[in-house]
Amino acid sequence: MRIPVETFHLDNGLFVTLSEDHTAPIAAVNLWYHVGSANEKIGRTGFAHLFEHMLFQGSAHVGSNEHFELIQRAGGTLNGSTWLERTNYFETVPSNELALALWLEADRMGELLPAMTQEKLDTQRDVVKNERRWAVDNQPYGTMLEKMQELVFPPSHPFQHSLIGSMEDLSAASLDDIAQFFATYYTPDNAVLSVAGDFDSKEALALIRDYFGPIPKGQGKPPLPSMTLPPVFGSRLREVVPDNVSLPRLFMAFRSPIFGSEEYYAASVASALLGMRKGSRLQRALVRERQIAADASAFTFDLAKASDLLVVDVTARPETPVGQLEEEVEREIDLLYRDGVSDEEVQRAIALIETDLVASLQSAGERADRLSMFATYFGDPKLVNEQADCYRRVTAERVNELVSERFGENNRASLIYVPREGVESETMLAAAAGAN
């Protein structure tokens, strides 16, 4: 199963990808800016994400919040999201409103700054601080992402600092900072625009040239500091986080091959055979058979630079001491490392991944997002059609190579949440320490 992909480059550097599908009168617009929290300076963390909010506050020809209103009035859905390496903005609209979605994206790419005011910045800063309270500070395990980044990336590595930012840095953000960050990164030559769904490619491209063509090319962005990391941590990393949680939960991370590399697919299969659905190793062993865990899963961060992370996530049952949780997860990883995987496990994982791949391509928004992703990271949106093959090529032998390179004791980082009350009990702490 393949989706059609056409690519174009505008003179200002904007990379355009189009994928027609006329089964329903729907069109999805998706814009990836190749800027994420990794591009932030220390002391100014949280900018890429704060921008996600500011980009809905109006531009030269669009009022504050009008972007939301116009798209919803058109019967569309929209949002944005921020990650370590990229920020994306997207709309899915009835196809007769495609021009509106494109124009709105062009207006804020071309002329955001005339509409920016201190008042808007202040309000959105408060909104983001409340987002932080809601999603991070007042949510059990909500600090996982930032604690994990701190634990597994060396100080000053671009992936090391918080994505949503600290309260201090958010308070310190000035209008000038914002303007400079915008001028540097939100330029056509640092973006990919994808459109998927019900449209005529010629007409869509004409609209894109009209709206985006006049936007000047950027001045270039400062290079990221060196991202390179050794393939393994080199030693065991471990942090215990006493927190306001009910159950101990262990996140164990492994450095793994970067997203899109040949070895990445083996790592992704390893992650699925460890923690995807009930038939996975951790679910079977820890949840079903030994009943020490309430839940178990595994996932990859999908980082395309430096090093990816594969993370195993296991929540203890109430009666399971944290030391036992850690020991039993370690034992499963040791077993994997020592004995490797079977062909049957690999086939199970690939079958599940393949269904998810195909099912997700039903949505125009997903198609557009994947086109943008492959274009941004690798300059080749057609890779969207290679994914199933990349997974099918993975064999038990390749997974075993990956496992012996990446699952040894020198490449495990454990982030362990324990209930705050539990910490007062010395036996529990001793047990946690003893598992080292």
């Binding site: 790419m109 949680v245 159950l247 269904t355």
Partner: protein
């Protein structure tokens, strides 16, 4: 410079909700099939009239436990083997119970549908409910309940239902059961519930995707041959409010940086003549990003990351709720604004612009809601569960379009009850109690969390 000329919409391209057939098989099972050939994917959604509203008193959670335990073994295969077999076919069954039905759902590549549906038939018709797995799933539910103690959002939702409905109402307790009710459940409760409610006459199989009507029928007839026939009456639902007085419940969470707020009252059943006006009214009040409550609390004041309102549509009258989380210090002013917005939409007509924002959105977004086989199956399930007419999705947009400003005002006056509002705040009582008390939005009760 980007052109300042706003583009006008092009001509609207027609859209119809996928055609479907609806038939009763000789076994008594109802089969609804929507052939959609866009991608080689099929979703099979099986629904049984065996939802949590049918939990007997004292056995709250048995419907959910039964639906979950279906996957834990059959006469021929144990739970691990079942999971393995489904997953080797690239799918896994999601099963559970919501208030109005039990369900089992699989999505797979169409070439594997035959094997997967056959296996699903086995799961539904010959479950063995192993004692050990019943006990394990109970323990996992108890772990989940324990997690709620430190999870303010879930805790606020649960406390709101508990304080809203009379203790005799099934809706006053969590759909998956409380610690007390779940602990007391046994294997035989599960088996009895299964025998009472899992019958062909109470079952609908919905097939959506890359499959023909004939093939779907052959497949389902073959897979679900041996199953208890007949029907059974459902349990009478009590859904009365606990009190007619306004009460403010503060669930104390020391050091909480935010207050989770829930404000509302008993709402309406899904099937009611005012459904469309009420839907549009709520969209204006709190159902959209551009709704009054969100623009007020988030965009004008920066109190919150988001605020919304909704009617939780069920067969019985589910709750109407305004839901948000605000910085602790602004708890009282945020509550004041919520109460004012509920008053305002009842006292004055909404503007033309507000009406058209809501109706243009609900009308326009319609095709976007049904892009996937899973979404189409779930829409068809609603027809069955709530007994909606077969042309419901064909007339939906016309019904939305026909709602007027006066209809919205009438719906607000009929279905929002400011004098019955119950308020739940999960937050730091010390910081908020005096200022909240000063609002005079009801007698205050403070609870330990």
């Amino acid at each position: 410079m980007v052109t300042s000329l706003r583009p006008k919409p092009g001509p609207v391209r027609g859209y119809r909700f996928p055609r479907f057939t609806d038939q009763i098989l000789p076994s008594g099972i109802r089969l609804v099939t929507a052939p959609v050939a866009k991608l080689p994917v099929v979703t099979v959604l099986l629904i049984v009239d065996a939802g949590s509203a049918n939990d007997p008193a004292g056995k709250e959670g048995v419907a959910a436990l039964t639906a979950a335990t279906l996957l834990e073994g059959t006469a021929r295969l144990n739970g691990a083997e079942l999971a393995e077999m489904f997953e080797r076919l690239g799918t896994s069954v999601e099963s559970g119970a919501d208030w109005d039905s039990a369900f089992a759902k699989i999505t797979m590549l169409s070439e594997r549908a035959d094997d997967a549906v056959t296996l699903l038939g086995q799961v539904l018709s010959e479950p063995s409910f192993p004692e050990r797995e019943v006990e394990r799933l109970k323990a996992e539910r108890l772990a989940e309940i324990l997690q709620l103690e430190t999870e303010p959002r879930g805790l606020a939702d649960e406390k709101f239902s508990e304080f809203l409905y009379s203790p005799a109402s099934r809706y006053s307790k969590p759909d998956e059961g409380s610690a007390q009710s779940v602990s007391a459940l046994s294997r035989s409760d599960v088996e009895q519930f299964y025998r009472a409610r899992y019958r062909t006459g109470l079952t609908t199989v919905i097939v959506a995707g890359d499959v023909s009507v004939d093939d779907a029928r052959t497949l389902v007839e073959k897979a679900f041959q041996e199953w208890a026939s007949g029907s059974a009456r459902g349990q009478q639902l009590i859904a009365t409010a606990q009190t007619s007085q306004k009460i403010v419940h503060i669930v104390d969470k020391q050091d909480a940086p935010q207050s989770e707020l829930r404000v509302g009252h008993v709402g309406l059943p899904r099937k009611n003549p005012d459904f469309f006006p009420t839907l549009v009214m709520n969209a204006v009040l709190g159902g959209l990003f551009g709704s009054r409550i969100n623009l007020n609390l988030r965009e004008a004041r920066g109190y919150t990351y988001g605020a919304s309102s909704y009617y939780d549509w069920r067969r019985g009258p589910g709750p109407f709720v305004v839901s948000t989380a605000v910085q602790s210090e602004v708890t009282a002013p945020a509550l004041r604004e919520i109460f004012l917005e509920i008053e305002r939409i009842r006292s004055d007509r909404i503007s033309e612009e507000e009406l058209s924002l809501a109706t243009d959105y609900l009308d326009g977004v319609f095709p976007i809601r049904y892009e996937t086989t899973a979404a189409i199956a779930s829409a068809l399930a609603s027809l069955v569960i709530y007994g909606l007419p077969a042309d419901y999705y064909d007339t939906y947009r016309m019904h939305i379009r026909s709602v007027s400003i006066d209809n919205v005002l009438a719906a607000a006056r009929a279905h929002l009850h400011p004098n019955e509002l119950q308020t739940v705040v999960v937050g730091n009582a010390k910081v908020i109690r005096d200022s909240v008390a000063a609002l005079e939005i009801g007698e205050m009760q403070v609870h330990e969390s």
